[in-house]
Assembly symmetry: C2
Homo-oligomer: 559 residues x 2
């Protein structure tokens, strides 16, 4: 997706596309970022060098892992961060009239040429407290970035995680389609969901705009309205269909279907199962097959799945087969999906046997009615014959937990470490500009993430290192890593000459995410009672955190 | 917001802005709308005249009302609905290669000049089953509109309803601020939330982009990071502050604040309450006050609300007062908001009395930590001193219910009424192109909504009319309306000469919404066990629904 023309070595004149949504501008921020920028400027502090960490405190959906997403959009925002004159006028109107004109001249100058962003690569499995992004730069500029960057990471990571969870419960053999556009939280709630569900392991989307923007495979056939828009087969005027190999033409496809329908209805093993089918539905199926003879997939629950939808589908599929076409399958959008998919599968097998149609039993069955992790899990337990799931509302709105709580905390200013205290220990921030590593054990699984101060030596393979819980003094363990992965890499370096990471294509991020999940120890990612993954700090950082904490906290007085 | 230059009578050359988000294009739809369009076109049915109703089946959040929102964006989409060549090329690539070229020529021609939209006015309180929009036009075109229109209405109505519910529990005297940008579902999940929360009764937003796009009042001061970015008052170099009336200049504002701080600390009624305050916080407050002497509002919970934040705030506020400025107040972002707001209020009153500072007790208190309907309700029950609530995550992501289930159902084609059946009665659609009325009783409250066939006479004031539940034959009631309101009005009429409704300004929609809620019978909108509002059909429509139902449903066979 990255259309940047220049390599990492060409820093001057770097060109990068802006964020996908043109509404993502420097004004997509909280007003207080501008009031603070003014106060920093007024105090002469606006260029103080600040380091902020972006991290979350708790994994979503009751799980013990999160998929990090949204980085590409953040970097595109940062690369193009520049206020227009019109935006500056609006800010002037929005701030008190007493603000000095010099501030607006300053706003006119700012960009991210003095900002550095280190980040974990997009699509990586991540855990609480570890910085996903570390943003360093002039305090006023980095503050302006806080809100849009949080916005771009929070939902992206939430919905990518949701998709990954759906994939884990559905299994790798099933096709997963994202159908959420109509119920998503606004237009790019939908477009973002399509992008990040694909990243998290979905196979395709129904959302045409997302298909175009991101190259995601598209899927879709027809709706109930299509079925009920037909009254009867008499409406079908052009009834001819050329055979698949072009060798002959069936002049009356309608009659061919109708003769198959009566053969099915009166065949011994099926007699009594099918009554009279709905003629409006039959007409719709025939019309759809005439339009897409190679892609016939029918929604079979408009009237009655077993009495009407399935026999109508089979009649059309058998007629298509006479002409050399292979029907795709059916979609179920209501009712007991475990039962209906199994019953439909039985009919397909019966037809394969009764009419000698090899492969008919393997007809694809898609299910799509308000599915979520729980219903997928329940279907697995009941047994079903669904090959493909279309998932919408619960997936794209993250219905089970509609927000991820990423925060953006100041950890250092002018080389002075800063801490944010709270009566709730889980809300105390981890100070200092840090390095973050993932340590792997003998079996190839990752064992623990560790944060160290910037100047501490890198953990070494084969050397014992003490990993401490940042806030619980009794929780600590020695680890001898078999592999050490540096988590934070440079994705933006302003004007400097450092080499920075390229932004990978969406498909590559998706592959990385799928591989990451495969490499996780299964108990960390299971649905029920997952084991928390360990996140630690070095002994040196531990001591420093607690020194700073005592230093900043007021001493109480009992009265 | 409507920038249309022409009046309702000038139909030719009508100009209307497109949707707020430029990503809302005709491609923001499900692929199946295009596959169906092709199948309709191939069957020669694409210009069949279809009527679709957009409605929902259940009110959100366990309530018994919904605020309808999103209409303006729908009309802007429809008014500008036209596929570009690039979009058509993408559709060609996305459909099977067998699709005939004539279809793409057809796509090139389509727009909404033959589409009519009747809708309930935006901001109206609405109920299940009643169409919010009725879209009529060529079936293939109206199908293409289905997905984007659902997307634009679903979240808009959900979040406007959520905002209205927060307003109802907070009461009219409190200031409500929307602070959700960082946690919203993507960039325009946030911008949409800001727009529709304002519509639903919020007073302002923190989202600068939404302020610019929609003219919503903006609010914001500073964050914890601002507080911890300061080390000590020594950092403050320019310490002078001109008095409010310009008559004098205080050369050392820092010393003035520090002298007030020790006065507070050693004053009799306060001694022992305050210990030594945090100097980094004090420096931040002084800097903010120097930047915004007329708008001093301090976040007081970075270190310790009562031991540090409140006394530091009071010292700065009293120093500002010496120079003729009036501080605004404090913000609490953690802890027990009921307790802390009450304790802070006591301190403000004590200072008013002790130092003879009239009005100091009325200092504004804002609260903003993960608030939602439940926590607002709990605060009300506990008693609190908060004047203003900043609400984010739970409001904008509609955490309590992240999606509204609006559907778009075919109710008539070529003047033939259509019904969608389901084993779940609540999912059966109400057929026919309908008219919808709201009937009001003697006390001014609305009694019932009624749907009739298009050609039935309008209910008349003072005349008895039978209102029937659409699916439960025993539920029916006679009503003698004192006022009859026609709910569906024409908002788009393609090329015809009919007068259409203007799209009102956002502020006017907000006023309409607030008025609507005031006019509801209180038991329909209360939080606990609200009474369902009655939605009915005329006797004639009732009979027709059930005739059609029997006609379409297959007869089962018990075996």
């Amino acid at each position: 997706m990255e259309t940047e023309a220049n390599g990492a070595s060409e820093n001057a004149g770097r060109v990068m596309d802006g964020p996908t949504n043109p509404m993502v501008t420097p004004l997509l921020t909280d007003l207080y970022q501008f009031t603070m920028a003014y106060a920093y400027w007024k105090a002469g502090k606006h260029n103080d060098r600040a380091v902020f960490d972006l991290y979350f405190r708790k994994n979503p959906f009751g799980g013990e892992f999160t998929v990090f997403a949204g980085l590409e959009e953040c970097i595109k925002l940062i690369a193009n961060f520049k206020l227009t004159e019109e935006e500056i006028s609006f800010i002037r109107k929005s701030l008190p009239g007493s603000c000095e004109e010099g501030f607006f001249s300053y706003l006119r100058e700012i960009d991210c040429s003095d900002v550095e962003v280190y980040a974990i690569s997009e699509g990586t499995v991540v855990f609480p407290k570890v910085p996903l992004l570390r943003v360093e730069g002039p305090v006023a500029v980095v503050q302006l970035l806080e809100t849009p960057v949080l916005n771009l990471v929070n939902f992206a990571s939430l919905v990518a995680t949701n998709a990954a969870r759906h994939r884990l419960v559905a299994g790798n053999s099933k096709m997963l389609l994202e159908f959420g556009l109509r119920r998503a939280q606004g237009p790019d709630g939908a477009i973002g969901a399509s992008k990040y569900c694909y990243m998290g392991g979905f196979d395709a989307t129904s959302n045409v705009a997302a298909g175009r923007l991101f190259g995601i495979p598209l899927r879709g056939t027809h709706s109930h309205a299509f079925v009920s828009s037909f009254m009867s087969p008499d409406e079908i005027l052009d009834r001819s269909l050329c055979s698949s190999d072009g060798s002959s033409t069936c002049e009356d496809f309608v009659s061919l279907v109708q003769s198959w329908l009566s053969k099915i209805q009166w065949s011994k093993p099926l007699s009594g199962i099918f009554g009279e089918t709905n003629q409006s539905e039959l007409a719709a199926f025939m019309s759809y097959a005439l339009a897409f003879p190679n892609n016939f997939l029918a929604l079979v629950d408009t009237y009655d799945v077993m009495r009407s939808g399935v026999p109508n589908f089979c009649a059309v599929a058998l007629a298509l087969r006479d002409l050399g076409y292979k029907a795709v399958g059916i979609r179920l959008d209501s009712g007991d999906l475990a039962y209906l998919s199994s019953e439909a599968r039985k009919i397909f097998h019966t037809i394969e046997k009764e009419f000698g149609v090899p492969g008919f039993g393997k007809m694809s069955i898609t299910a799509s009615n308000d599915l979520n992790e729980e219903t997928l899990d329940a279907l697995n337990k009941q047994g079903h014959e669904v090959d493909c799931f279309g998932i919408g509302t619960y997936l794209v709105t993250c219905y089970a937990q509609a927000a991820l709580g990423c925060v953006f905390k100041l950890v250092e200013i002018n080389n002075q470490p800063r801490i944010k205290l709270s009566e709730d220990v889980s809300k105390v921030s981890i100070p200092c500009k840090k390095r973050c590593y993932r340590l792997y054990g003998k079996e190839g699984y990752s064992l623990v993430d560790i944060m160290t101060g910037e100047n501490e030596p890198c953990p070494k393979v084969g050397e014992r290192i003490l990993c401490r819980h940042p806030f619980n003094e009794s929780k600590r363990a020695y680890v001898v890593p078999q592999r050490v992965e540096m988590l934070l890499k440079c994705y933006w370096h302003g004007k400097s000459d450092k080499v920075r990471e390229e932004l990978p294509a969406l498909k590559d991020i998706r592959d990385h995410c799928i591989k990451q999940l495969e490499q996780m120890r299964p108990d960390h990612i299971r649905r029920l009672n997952p084991t928390p993954y360990k996140v630690s700090v070095s002994a040196k950082l531990y001591d420093f955190i607690h020194f700073l904490w005592l230093n900043e906290a007021p001493v109480g007085e009992l009265q």
